[in-house]
């Protein structure tokens, strides 16, 4: 279900509305999801009731958004404690990362095939990276998951080759780290594909908008006090 909101809520202080999207998702649970509609695969953003859009929680069972209609805020940055090849980054570089734990004030964004019926599909649904437009033309984007045994599996990356894509069974959802190396508006084109038992190979490609929030200036930090400090997290 499409849901268009007027931007009547107060603007998020440390994130501007994106140039390409009418609304911004800043907190709560949402998924880059895929459903089957009219015999076609439909990649979209599925936000749950806890998701905050333009300053207001959606409530109820949430809503679906076309990827171009809403931006996903990435409000927190970290200083990397080690070189991180998946993002083409080095120790001490700044990265903006959406994590795999639910944290107040941050989108809790996953990938979902919950809307599909497992019995209708042969194998998994694969999400792969098709194209990335970064704010500055440089910088890197990646999606990765810890492997649980001390390393990571790189699922999407503009910095390294050999990313595997994210493979999900139908009827599940999972969370991965999503990272950026520069602030600004990022356009991330993702393709979801799978083999339907009767409809054959299906795919959907959509561009998702991420608004990576710049680190506040010193003057703004003084004005915002604790809020500014909460938006900037340094790894010790």
């Amino acid at each position: 279900m499409k849901h268009l909101l007027k931007a009547t809520a107060p603007l998020l202080l440390c994130a501007t509305l994106p140039a390409t999207a009418a609304s911004i998702y800043t907190e709560g649970h949402g998924d880059i999801g895929v459903g089957l509609e009219g015999g076609a695969l439909h990649l979209h953003l599925h936000l749950k009731g806890s998701a905050v859009v333009d300053g207001t929680a959606l409530g109820g069972t949430g809503a679906e958004f076309e990827p171009g209609d809403i931006a996903i805020a990435v409000p927190t940055s970290s200083i990397l404690s080690a070189d991180f090849p998946a993002l083409g980054a080095m120790l001490g570089d700044t990265a903006w990362i959406l994590g795999v734990d639910e944290v107040p004030g941050v989108p809790y964004l996953g990938f979902s095939t919950d809307e599909l019926v497992a019995a209708d599909w042969a194998g998994n649904i694969t999400f792969t990276l098709s194209n990335v437009t970064s704010p500055s033309g440089s910088g890197h984007f990646a999606v990765w998951q810890p492997d649980g045994v001390g390393g990571i599996d790189i699922l999407m990356s503009t910095a390294v080759s050999g990313a595997t894509g994210l493979s999900l069974m139908p009827e599940v959802h999972g969370h991965s780290f999503i990272g950026f190396t520069a602030p600004g508006e990022w356009l991330i084109e993702i393709t979801a594909s799978g083999t339907h038992n009767t409809l054959g190979n299906l795919s959907s490609t959509e561009t998702f908008v991420f608004q990576v929030v710049p680190e506040p200036s010193a003057a703004l930090l003084v004005g915002l006090g604790g809020i500014g400090a909460a938006l900037r997290r340094r790894r010790r």
Partner: protein, 570 residues
């Protein structure tokens, strides 16, 4: 390959809440709290839950199972090896040792287990470190109290962890260094859902007791509640030199006790139903096997009427097996070899090389021997490599009453191991049945013309099937469960089908009308209180050959039909 229809019809019976094994699928350790001002501790409740609408941000669609009757079973895909260098996995053992990992992300054929809370906002204070402050939402905490059970008694470690963005572990619970104040998840948002990696390093049942706690917004009072969650790490189902036939008393249909035999692996401290094991024979015959003409392979073990008590039983009640057949209640106990099925001959010899029982000169009443009250060393000898089934019965006199036990099967793999291939199975049975080489190569063929394709005979080997003997009657048959649900029980060989689509697939299916079939698998698992594959049979432990059932809820059903889809590995 056409699915095999195995049964017709089942009478309606009453419904009940059943025990449930979870060997794959998405479930949660679920903590609920309801306001209980007069007794805050009474407000806590734990369950194992799943969500029928897959929306973990609402309270609709949640189905709760009793944790006391729900067991998380480590599937084959969860079995791992500690790498070299071990890193943080050294808590599970040195490089090369086994551990089992239930993963943080959804993976086919593994349990995908999280922690979920359903707590109304505003009941609890917000915890930051050791400080609590009033909050419109609030947080609770979860800590590890104890890890008990046969798995822990065997030295098993239990740990649960998340990972940071670099992949480094953030431990929630870790029993490897003892259990203390650090074994906690300090801050869980009310109404949240988080997944963890869950690790174990010894087979057996683990009873993990957790405590949820928090401070009430109203008066800062501390309140807590506890529950025990059950995890089962499978034993190997593989026997070998030094293992044991252990005689014990069972009761059939409520009748008087009769003698029977289980098998025991003293090193792993586990009893098994012999039909859920394979005794692997890897040694060339020595002079100990000379009593069997043409002996080429041998394995040694013991047969006993009593011995060490083990805490774990796969397909058997370990306490009942441990009770054995003691003097003076039991006397005149004998073990008789009644049938041997295999590509050669099988003999049982005593420690002095004397022949106790053998198929080489025909099996008759002479192929029985006394089992004394002290363990008897024995050697099993074989003339050819391949798969053997030794059918046997125990007999004895109990309190003056002569009894004869049920026929049981002991499975041997001579120069074969658990996880033998179709080709190895076919070669063995071609020789057993005197068939030409390649006669069983066609998986769709039916050499014994019993209506079961060769692929089905292979997939249900541990059910007792043979492709060279008409035995359709040995296929699983549906029956009502003790709680009254329609079900079909079967022995699942998780070497053949490790449940992650890397091997063969054996998928049970149910239908009310022979038209609409609900097929169940690790990919289409269904829901525990609907049509669902779960555990079955006695015992408190699991092996690689595991008793399962496709259970249909709710009850009653006027009739129900079952079949199996067997898909060979490409």
């Amino acid at each position: 390959m056409r699915p095999l229809l195995v049964a017709l019809g089942l009478q309606a019976l009453a419904a009940a809440s059943p025990p449930t094994d979870l060997i794959y699928g998405h479930h949660e350790i679920h903590v609920d709290y309801q306001s209980s001002p007069s007794d805050p501790d009474a407000g806590w409740s734990f369950s194992v839950s799943y969500d029928t609408d897959n929306d973990f941000t609402t309270n609709s669609g949640i189905v709760r199972l009793d944790p006391a009757d729900t067991v998380f079973v480590a599937s084959p895909a969860t079995e791992k090896t500690v790498p070299n260098p071990p890193g943080f996995l050294s808590r599970f053992g040195p490089a090369g040792s086994k551990y089992w990992l239930l993963p943080f992300s959804p993976q086919l054929g593994t349990p995908y287990l999280g922690v979920r809370t359903t707590v109304p906002p505003g009941i609890f204070r917000q915890r930051v470190g050791d400080n609590y402050s009033p909050s419109p939402t609030g947080t609770i905490s979860l800590r590890l109290i104890s890890v008990e059970g046969p798995g822990a008694e065997a030295g098993g470690v239990f740990a649960a962890w998340r990972s940071d963005a670099m992949g480094a572990p953030i431990f929630a619970f870790d029993s490897s260094d003892g259990i203390g104040t650090g074994d906690e998840i300090p801050t869980i948002q009310v109404s949240s859902h988080t997944h963890y990696n869950w690790g174990f390093n010894r087979p057996g049942l683990y009873r993990v007791t957790l405590e949820a706690f928090g401070r009430l917004n109203s008066n800062n009072a501390f309140t807590s509640g506890r529950a025990t969650l059950l995890f089962s790490i499978p034993f190997s189902s593989r026997l070998g030199d030094g293992d044991q036939l252990r005689l014990w008393a069972t009761s059939q249909n409520g009748g008087p006790p009769v003698p029977t035999a289980a098998v025991a692996d003293p090193q792993a401290a586990v009893f098994y139903d012999s039909q859920q094991t394979i005794w692997e024979v890897t040694r060339a015959a020595t002079s100990a096997a000379a009593g069997l003409p043409g002996a080429l392979w041998e394995t040694n073990g013991t047969i006993a009427r009593s011995g060490s008590a083990f805490s774990s039983g796969v397909g058997v009640d370990p306490q009942a097996v441990a009770a054995g057949l003691p003097d003076p209640s039991w006397s005149g106990v004998t073990w008789q070899l009644s049938d041997v099925e295999g590509p050669g001959h099988l003999a049982v010899l005593g420690s002095g090389g004397g022949l106790l029982a053998s198929s080489h000169d025909g099996l008759n009443g002479q192929d029985a021997f006394s089992v004394p009250s002290t363990p008897l060393d024995i050697v099993f000898a074989f003339t050819s490599p391949g798969l053997y089934r030794a059918r046997f019965r125990a007999a004895g006199t109990m309190n003056g009453q002569a009894t004869l036990g049920p026929e049981r099967i002991l499975v041997f793999g001579v120069n074969l191991a658990g996880g033998f291939t179709y080709s190895q199975w076919a070669d063995s049975f071609e020789r057993s049945g005197g068939l030409p080489v390649g006669a069983l190569a066609d998986r769709d063929g039916d050499a014994d013309r019993d209506g079961l394709p060769n692929a089905t005979e292979f997939a249900f080997f541990f059910q007792g099937l043979s492709p060279v003997r008409p035995d359709r009657a040995l296929m699983p048959r549906p029956r009502p469960t003790p709680e009254g649900y329609a079900a079909v029980e079967f022995l699942r060989d998780t070497w053949i089908d490790p449940l992650d689509e890397t091997g063969w697939e054996i998928r049970p299916a149910a239908s009310p009308d022979l038209q609409v079939w609900q097929i169940r698998s690790s990919r289409v698992s269904g829901e525990p209180l609907d049509v669902f594959e779960t555990g079955a049979g006695p015992g408190n432990a699991h092996g690689r050959v595991v008793q399962r059932q496709l259970r249909v809820m709710p009850a009653p059903k006027d009739r129900h039909f079952f079949r199996f889809h067997v898909t060979p590995k490409p």
